[in-house]
């Protein structure tokens, strides 16, 4: 797999949730971009002084464009979201190892906020590959407006019996029939939607606090630490 710097051009933008937008890119050299779902790229917009940031790829390799789904929360994310169609940027990567290796086990994903991005890519790729592994996504947000990829995720779940999505809202009640729980992810929720606790691989992605809290939660449920994989956004 390549691991170098290549120039990409922005071809489209799409709002996904409150303060969250997907940016769609294609390489200017016209060659394919090889990556694993769940990986990320390092980017430093030319308008930013100093270090860049890492952003997870939210598309899958078979998609026409490479997408990054970014939440506006600082200088670099703002610079990325201010990019105009036909603006160019250098991708350094792909990097990372946050993707399920084929172990024949069911997968439980715990996502907090924008931590959904690697899971969106992994889920789409798992479905496309025809895998019969069961995937349970437990996705926590503050409000319904914060849920990224809500419609796309529901469509994936409606069409794939091996995918179950559990939405948890921590700061509001909603009457949407797709919203399941109105509290933070806790052992009760994990037990409720995963009766076979010990036969899963668990993936956690979100803020530093979210990933640490979820890791401690799974440990308190006697989940083997070797079965837990984490990716914290910082």
């Amino acid at each position: 797999m390549q691991n170098n710097k290549r120039e990409f051009i922005l071809v489209d933008k799409k709002p996904e949730a409150a303060d969250v937008t997907s940016l769609f890119f294609k390489p200017t050299d016209g060659l394919e971009y090889d990556y694993q779902p769940g990986q990320y790229v390092d980017i430093k917009p030319s308008s930013v002084y100093g270090h860049g940031k890492s952003y997870t790829i939210s598309s899958i390799p078979s998609d026409e464009f490479v997408s990054l789904t970014i939440k506006k929360n600082g200088t670099i994310s703002s610079a990325m979201l201010d990019m105009r169609i036909n603006d160019k940027v250098i991708f350094d990567g792909p990097h990372g190892n946050f993707y399920p290796e084929n172990q024949g086990r069911n997968i439980v994903m715990l996502a907090g906020g924008i931590g959904i991005t690697p899971f969106f890519s992994i889920i789409k790729n798992t479905i496309k590959s025809g895998s019969d592994a069961k995937t349970t996504l437990i996705y926590s947000n503050k409000t319904k407006n914060d849920i990224t990829f809500f419609d796309s995720l529901n469509k994936l779940a409606d069409n794939n019996p091996n995918l179950e999505i559990v939405y948890c809202l921590t700061q509001e009640k909603a009457t949407d029939p797709n919203i399941n729980e109105f509290k933070r992810i806790d052992p009760d929720i994990i037990n409720k939607y995963n009766p076979y606790l010990k036969n899963n691989n668990y993936y956690i992605c979100g803020s530093i606090k979210f990933t640490s809290d979820m890791w401690r939660t799974l440990k308190s449920m006697n989940i083997d630490e070797d079965d837990i994989f984490t990716e914290a956004f910082f």
């Binding site: 990933t211 070797d226 914290a232």
Partner: protein
């Protein structure tokens, strides 16, 4: 700044904002390799870049019979948290007879942070360096062990 609103000087042990574990591994780092010229490592991992300010190198020796890490050395150009994270990572990799390679590949930043007694969020990336550097060393070993 501490809750007493005094400036936190690096030489002021009383108002240090880091945990006892971080201080211990910063002032007395374990398993540092100052010169790798004569160290016959089985696997080498590198992570970071000088441009970013943090670079970490890890060298491991693997017990071929047990498949466990028997030695883990490191060197880093970084802050106190990076030094402490690398030191703790090396201890975790080699204690209790040494980690098996699958566990070592998945040594999580959260585990390093927990053993250190905590790190400020702005230093979490230092524990990520330790996780990635060890993983790269294991992958390097596995690549050449084929």
């Amino acid at each position: 700044m501490t809750k007493d609103n005094k400036q936190n000087h690096s030489t002021d042990g009383e108002n240090w904002i880091y945990s006892e574990g971080v201080r211990d591994h910063f002032f007395s780092p374990k398993n540092v390799l100052y010169d790798e010229a004569n160290y016959a490592a089985d696997g080498v991992g590198t992570v970071g870049s000088p441009e970013c300010g943090d670079v970490m190198y890890v060298w491991i020796k693997v017990d071929k019979k047990t498949g466990r890490i028997k030695e883990c050395k490191w060197r880093t150009f970084g802050c106190a948290s990076a030094i402490a994270s690398a030191s703790m990572m090396s201890v975790m990799a080699t204690e209790n007879g040494g980690m098996d390679l699958k566990t070592a590949q998945n040594l999580k930043p959260q585990q390093i942070v927990e053993r250190l007694g905590g790190l400020p969020d702005r230093k979490f990336h230092c524990s990520v360096l330790g996780h990635k550097a060890l993983r790269n060393a294991v992958l390097n070993y596995l690549e050449y062990a084929k």
